[in-house]
């Protein structure tokens, strides 16, 4: 592993900048929106710098404060984590632009500090190299997210937030128990050192079960998804986008790291279990989405379904499948945030989100509807879009490992997704029986939704770039050759 030292520690700045922005916003609530946007734009620089470093020099490792691995805080950046950072930056930028027009001043002074803090924590999570730091970031992430959900006010949002809080704590607790078990057994917290020391023993398996279950709960894998739809649907639109696009991905990222870097190769059975749950999520989530009468709930259930795809890689366990899953994460982040923002626009415009009363939204909010449709294309997995590339890679992996069942699951998931997306689009063309008062949507909100959707589309046209980046130092590259028979 070629670890090079480069003069500027970009990775640290990716955490410090949003943290500083958050503090400033907290201290100067009147200027929160302006400062927040400035911070959002400035984060792009270190993220791009880190991406460039990783792309040209390979894996990066920083010891914060100068202490080494066992004691100090280590930041570790490979292709996967820098890709996650880029994704967060892209989505974050879009959400920041959107939020600047969405929130009135009273809400904005709470939103910006929380959001930038969440951003800093997310970046820290993607860059952390030891399991305890990961726990800390996970916990903080959960708390920030809960606070953001509660921002909407009202009984629904508070119930949703409360439930989300409990789930978040429960998940983190499980995770912490696993960390304690591992520390007790091996005396270190660094992932790479742990990975070297790891050996099959009951404590390890117990830790694995605990940590996985906790993370599954936080990732809202079926049948543990119950908290997600209310929380995501009741939050304000930018917050829903943050939760669906970024927050659930963080816990999945962690799971991915643990299973690939940390734990010894588990047998086929637990992997199959995760795959089956994923398939269940796809079908159940899509069916529920199809059944919804409210647009936001539909999109939230669609997230439940899409998260299911991420777990199909576990039984396949081929590098193509991992590529596919990471690609799913990227394209879903962009597409789903675009979708939530578009739905936010519709809600803002008509004051409701009942699907059968969409009432010619196509003509009245053309940009928003375009954003929704393009995001929908990516969610369905139609070409050319990020979702299609991901689905293609996944299908390819399923075919080459001869596991047919997953092909059917993926395809029926796409068809169901097409059904619920086009159900919405169809009603957007027709005239509703009930008329609603409307108010104009700020242009910037329409364009950010469209921009994110177009980014999801672009992801389908430039696949080689992210695919190359994610293979740099990726845990699964070493797995090639250990594929299933």
């Amino acid at each position: 592993m070629g670890i090079s030292t480069v003069s500027i520690p970009w990775a640290i700045w990716t955490i410090l900048l949003p943290l500083a922005g958050s503090l400033l916003c907290f201290l100067l609530p009147r200027r929160a929106a302006l400062l927040g946007q400035a911070a959002a734009f400035s984060i792009v620089v270190p993220v791009a710098g880190l991406g460039w470093q990783v792309a040209t020099h390979g894996i990066q490792r920083y010891a914060v404060g100068g202490w080494g691995a066992p004691l100090g805080i280590d930041l570790y950046a490979d292709g996967l984590s820098s890709l996650m950072l880029i994704m967060t930056a892209l989505v974050g930028l879009g959400i920041s632009l959107y939020a600047s027009a969405y929130f009135e001043r009273r809400k904005a002074q709470f939103f910006w500090p929380l959001w930038l803090f969440l951003w800093a924590v997310l970046n820290a999570l993607f860059l952390s190299g030891d399991i305890f730091n990961l726990y800390v970031t996970l916990e903080l992430l959960g708390l920030a997210a809960v606070a953001l959900v509660a921002l909407a006010g009202g009984a629904d949002a508070l119930t949703g937030a409360m439930r989300y809080l409990l789930v978040s704590l429960l998940g983190s607790l499980c995770y912490l128990l696993g960390v304690a078990l591992l520390y007790h057994a091996f005396g270190t917290l660094d992932i790479i050192s742990l990975g070297r020391l790891m050996m099959p023993m009951p404590a390890v398996w117990t830790a694995m079960g605990l940590m996985t279950a906790g993370l599954l709960l936080k990732t809202a894998l079926f049948p543990l998804h119950f908290w997600l739809p209310p929380a995501h649907a009741s939050a304000p639109a930018p917050v829903s986008a943050i939760l669906s696009a970024l927050v659930v991905k963080a816990s999945f990222y962690l799971l991915l790291r643990l299973w690939l870097d940390l734990f010894p190769e588990p047998g086929a059975a637990p992997r199959l279990l995760l795959g089956v749950l994923g398939a269940g999520a796809i079908l159940w989530g899509s069916l529920q989405a199809l059944r919804q009468k409210r647009l936001k709930l539909l999109v939230a259930y669609s997230t439940v379904a899409q998260l299911g795809y991420l777990f199909l890689a576990f039984p396949l366990l081929i590098s193509a499948a991992w590529n596919a899953v990471v690609y799913f994460v990227l394209s879903h982040a962009l597409a789903k945030s675009a979708m939530f923002l578009a739905v936010g626009n519709i809600l803002y415009f008509g004051g409701h989100d009942r699907i059968d009363e969409l009432d010619r939204i196509v003509q009245r909010l053309p940009l928003t509807m375009t954003a929704f449709a393009i995001a929908g294309i990516s969610i369905i997995g139609l070409p050319p879009s990020g979702g299609f590339v991901a689905k293609w890679l996944l299908l390819e992996a399923a075919f080459s490992s001869g596991q047919w069942g997953w092909v059917l699951v993926v395809i029926s998931g796409s068809l169901l997704a097409a059904a619920y997306v086009f159900k919405v689009i169809g009603f957007a063309f027709t005239q509703a029986k009930v008329l609603h008062e409307t108010r104009a949507v700020p242009t910037i909100m329409e364009w950010t939704a469209l921009g994110l959707a177009l980014a999801a589309l672009a992801l389908g046209l430039m696949a080689p770039l992210p695919l190359e980046l994610m293979d740099i130092g990726a845990p699964w590259v070493t797995l090639i050759g250990e594929e299933l028979p």
Partner: protein, 498 residues
Amino acid sequence: MNWDEWLPLLIVCSSLLPGLVIFFLSERKVVARTVLNLGGAVAKLMLVLILLWGVLHGHHYETRLPLLPGLDLVLRADALSLLFLPLSTGLWLLTTVYAIGYLEDSPHRSRFFGFFSLCVTATVGVALAGNLMTFLLFYELLTLSTYPLIVHRGTEVARRAGRTYLIYTMLGGALLLIGTVWLYGLAGTLEFTEGGFVAAGSSNSRAALIAIFSLLIAGLGVKAALAPLHGWLPQAMVAPAPVSALLHAVAVVKVGAFGIVRVVYDVFGIEYAEWLGVTGPLAVLAAVTILYGSIRALFQDDLKRRLAFSTVSQVSYITLGVAIVGPIATIGGIVHLVHQGLMKITLFFCAGNLAETLGIHKVSQMNGVGHRMPWTMGAFTLGALGMIGVPPLAGFVSKWYLGHGALEAGQNWVVLVLAGSSLLNAAYFLPILYAAWFREPPAAWPSERSFGRWETAWALLLPPLITAFMSLLVGLLAAAPFSPLEWARLIATREYGL
């Protein structure tokens, strides 16, 4: 040689860019929109002509952009695409003129023409696709861009029709996707090759290949309206007339048929497909579709529905020609791609004219309409007679080659199918002609609009006249150089390595 690499992409973009700009034009900017529309169409036609000229002078046009590791987006001009490309480009120009006339003063024109351009972009992309992946990409794009056109009117009926369309095409697309990925896994490549790329590495399991073939054909058969999969087509008739013309003659249905041609010739290779034993069932399926479509058409009173079922029947001629293994039938099938397009677009234009000018939607309202609109009905008559297969119209040439090819390949039953279909065609078209020309016109038409000097707006009248004349010309001058028939012959020669 840089130019040669970018020309195919330019051809695709020449409708994509105007389309995207049109989306952002306000409703009132009629002139700008018209200029963009026609400019895009003419530019595309010019580029296609340059391409044709270049190919004749030995240039090789290919655009290759990386899409996935190991899979590129390939746009290439080969013989088959050069048959389909001028057809879709030329007919697009006419349909655009027609649509401008047809949609005068109706709402949401920017949206309409935007998707209209996207639709043609997808069709041209399909025509130029150099591998199955690129084909799939544009095929799905076509599905998506036609959906808003079908639901354009925004009524409940339109929404339902759109839903039916999507259910069918999404299923078809899914099957196509499965087949493609599977094939990629087996063959390791997806590049279209004359004679088929599967044939080259024929160590693969036969059962798997048969399954892949069925998946691909079923996926494409949805758009090509093969018998049990045609249900969306008659329902999609709620769309405005230019859309129907586009669906039936240029874009959707044609793309399905074109895809079948591609799969049989350039993916599997006709001889390999025959060895797999899949061409026989395909021919039977096509024959059943031909007869079934004709029989259903017989009982429709709605003019556009009748034409829709007629399309179901006629497009399967292409499939039939492909599925009969033999160079002559191949010629017949491929050339019908062009011929059916010309004739069917004429019929739909005329149906649109009747609806727009006189408010006629049903066959039973067409009494004496030939006196009121002689030019339109003249074009309609040419189109209908061509469909029946009256010489020297286009339909005759295709039918002749199909029948001849079937006999050559020893499949005599096909001739009976052709004869039966001709009879049925006559049975559902001639009563229309009779009523239009020989019955007394009613005292008043359902809702008549006056267009001054001409029987209808010139933009509505000119396109059907041109296409009708062309359908006469391609039949009459079938043996002339550069006629569709000669192209088809060239393609068949290459495919069979004669």
